[in-house]
């Protein structure tokens, strides 16, 4: 197992958000997290790279193991963790700098300064993110001039440039048009050959199309998890059934 979550609880201040989460996420797969908004999907996702640590009143207990190491353990360096666990956000957030510098950003902050090496990685990452052909001749223009879909693929390129193990995606297509969404979905199925992907999505079709495993969240609990096929065709829990049939959420 790439990620193993055991009895994980989390909250902000004295507001309990996640309750006793247990989940196993296998290597080189796409796991979709579905559930109505406000049920804690983002909070859970942001627990996996400890982004929640940025909120001062965040607290949690239980374990999240990545490669069998507890990421909330004392010996964990958050910088290394986040290098290893990349994140793509709901709103595409390229930095206000050139396309090239965006992709080179992670390499530079992690101490790589060799220009030749950086340019190789930039090209490779942009190709892997299926963006290279569109930006090849404007690498040094500001990334903010790209379209929303291109910006999101750039964020994916920026994430894979530092060669992470895991990529977390928080509703990466929710602000995109259908064509850009399709491109990102194709990209996701391409990327899972090399990375383990956890994908929060609001879109049932997207979960069905893109994921191997699905976990259904409701009110901070995992109601049901397993093979996507099983969850959608043969859900065991009434609540899951209701949700995927569109009866609420």
């Amino acid at each position: 197992m790439k990620i193993e979550v055991n009895h994980f609880n989390a909250g902000f201040g004295n507001m309990e958000i996640l309750k006793d989460i247990n989940l196993k996420i296998p290597k080189h797969s796409v796991t979709a997290l579905i559930g109505p908004s406000g049920c804690g999907k983002s909070t859970f996702l942001r627990s996996i790279n400890r982004m929640n640590d940025l909120s001062r009143d965040f607290c949690c207990n239980g374990d999240i193991l990545i490669n069998s190491m507890n990421i909330y353990g004392d010996e964990i360096d958050v910088v290394d963790l986040r290098k290893n666990v990349g994140m793509v956000f709901q709103k595409a957030n390229p930095f206000p700098m050139s396309i090239y510098d965006n992709v080179a950003y992670g390499l530079r902050i992690h101490g790589i300064h060799d220009d030749y090496e950086i340019s190789k990685v930039v090209e490779k990452s942009l190709k892997q993110a299926a963006l290279w052909e569109e930006v090849e001749d404007k690498l040094f223009e500001s990334a903010l001039n790209l379209s929303g879909g291109q910006q999101q693929r750039l964020c994916i390129a920026r994430t894979i440039a530092v060669n992470p193990d895991i990529i977390l995606m928080d509703e990466p297509c929710s602000a995109l048009d259908p064509i850009s969404t399709l491109k990102i979905e194709e990209l996701i199925s391409e990327l899972k050959k090399d990375y383990t992907i956890v994908l929060v999505t609001h879109n049932m079709q997207q979960a069905k199309r893109s994921s191997d495993y699905t976990a259904f969240f409701l009110n901070g609990e995992v109601i049901e998890s397993g093979l996507t096929r099983n969850i959608f065709q043969n859900p065991q829990e009434i609540k899951t059934q209701d949700y995927i049939m569109g009866r609420f959420g």
Partner: protein
């Protein structure tokens, strides 16, 4: 009234007030430039004043002003931007923030002559630093800091949260995030504040008149006495020494301030195009 006619009236009002502001500025600036240009020649720019400034040039004044600008930049920029950075990114004590903001608002509205008198009492009489450009620069720094602090704090706080998240999400440390994302993104706002504060300091006579010694000699170091352009202008006009040279001095002062402002606006817009914001 119809929405349309309200729109018409407000739009007219905006245009009118814009035009009035522009006109006032143009009238003042062109009046001084026209009155002053007669005094301008190479001798005026490159020699010392003779006979208290009735004759000769204003080179020592230009140099004094530049020295003051250098001291002020050297002290006020790091302190102003540094404390804004601390408030925006490190401080978690909301009360401290409110207090500091209040103090800087008060300081920014203290009349410059009060800064001058404070400098005289504190630096010259109490600390006995002696009259010098350095003493003047220290007081100008105190005067400039609140503006730099306030504008920088706003600029830093308006850096979008999602840039920072992206940055921390890549595994950046706080310091890396500050230097690579936060400061560059806020740079044009911070720079605007710096220019605003520095041009004001550059045009200041009252704050430094009791501190710089007002000598007519060529300053060779910061510890020398000197007389910046605005003070020279004030003395020439106030003591009725030479109105012609007073206008000439004003011409040079305005020309330098205009150049700094236009140049910095140009740099800022270039920079913003580069960032793509």
């Amino acid at each position: 009234m119809h929405v349309k006619s309200i729109q018409k009236i407000t739009s007219f009002w905006f245009k009118l007030s814009g035009a009035i502001t522009l006109a006032i500025l143009m009238i003042i600036v062109s009046y001084i430039l026209i009155k002053g240009i007669g005094a301008i020649n190479l001798e005026f720019l490159l020699t010392k004043p003779v006979d208290s400034g009735r004759e000769g040039g204003i080179l020592p004044m230009i140099l004094s002003s530049l020295y003051l600008l250098a001291v002020t930049s050297f002290i006020a920029i790091p302190l102003g931007v540094g404390s804004a950075l601390y408030m925006a990114e490190y401080n978690e004590n909301h009360k401290l923030e409110v207090v500091i903001r209040f103090i800087s608002q008060v300081l920014a509205s203290v009349p410059s002559i009060v800064f001058g008198l404070f400098g005289l009492a504190f630096l010259i009489f109490f600390l006995k630093t002696g009259w010098s450009l350095l003493s003047g620069g220290v007081i100008l720094s105190l005067m400039s800091m609140p503006t730099i602090y306030q504008v920088s704090e706003v600029a830093l706080k308006s850096v979008p949260e999602h840039y920072k998240e992206g940055c921390y999400g890549m595994g950046a440390t706080k310091w890396q995030c500050i230097t690579s994302i936060i400061l560059p993104t806020a740079a044009s706002g911070i720079f605007t504040g710096i220019i605003l504060a520095l041009t004001r300091a550059f045009s200041e006579a009252a704050a430094v008149m009791y501190l710089v010694g007002s000598s007519l000699e060529m300053p060779t170091s910061l510890l020398d006495t000197g007389r910046p352009l605005p003070l020279h202008l004030y003395v020439l006009a106030n003591e009725g020494i030479s109105m012609e040279n007073a206008y000439g001095t004003a011409f040079v002062l305005i020309a330098i301030v205009l150049t700094i402002t236009i140049l910095s606006n140009h740099i800022i817009s270039k920079y913003e195009i580069k960032l793509g914001v």
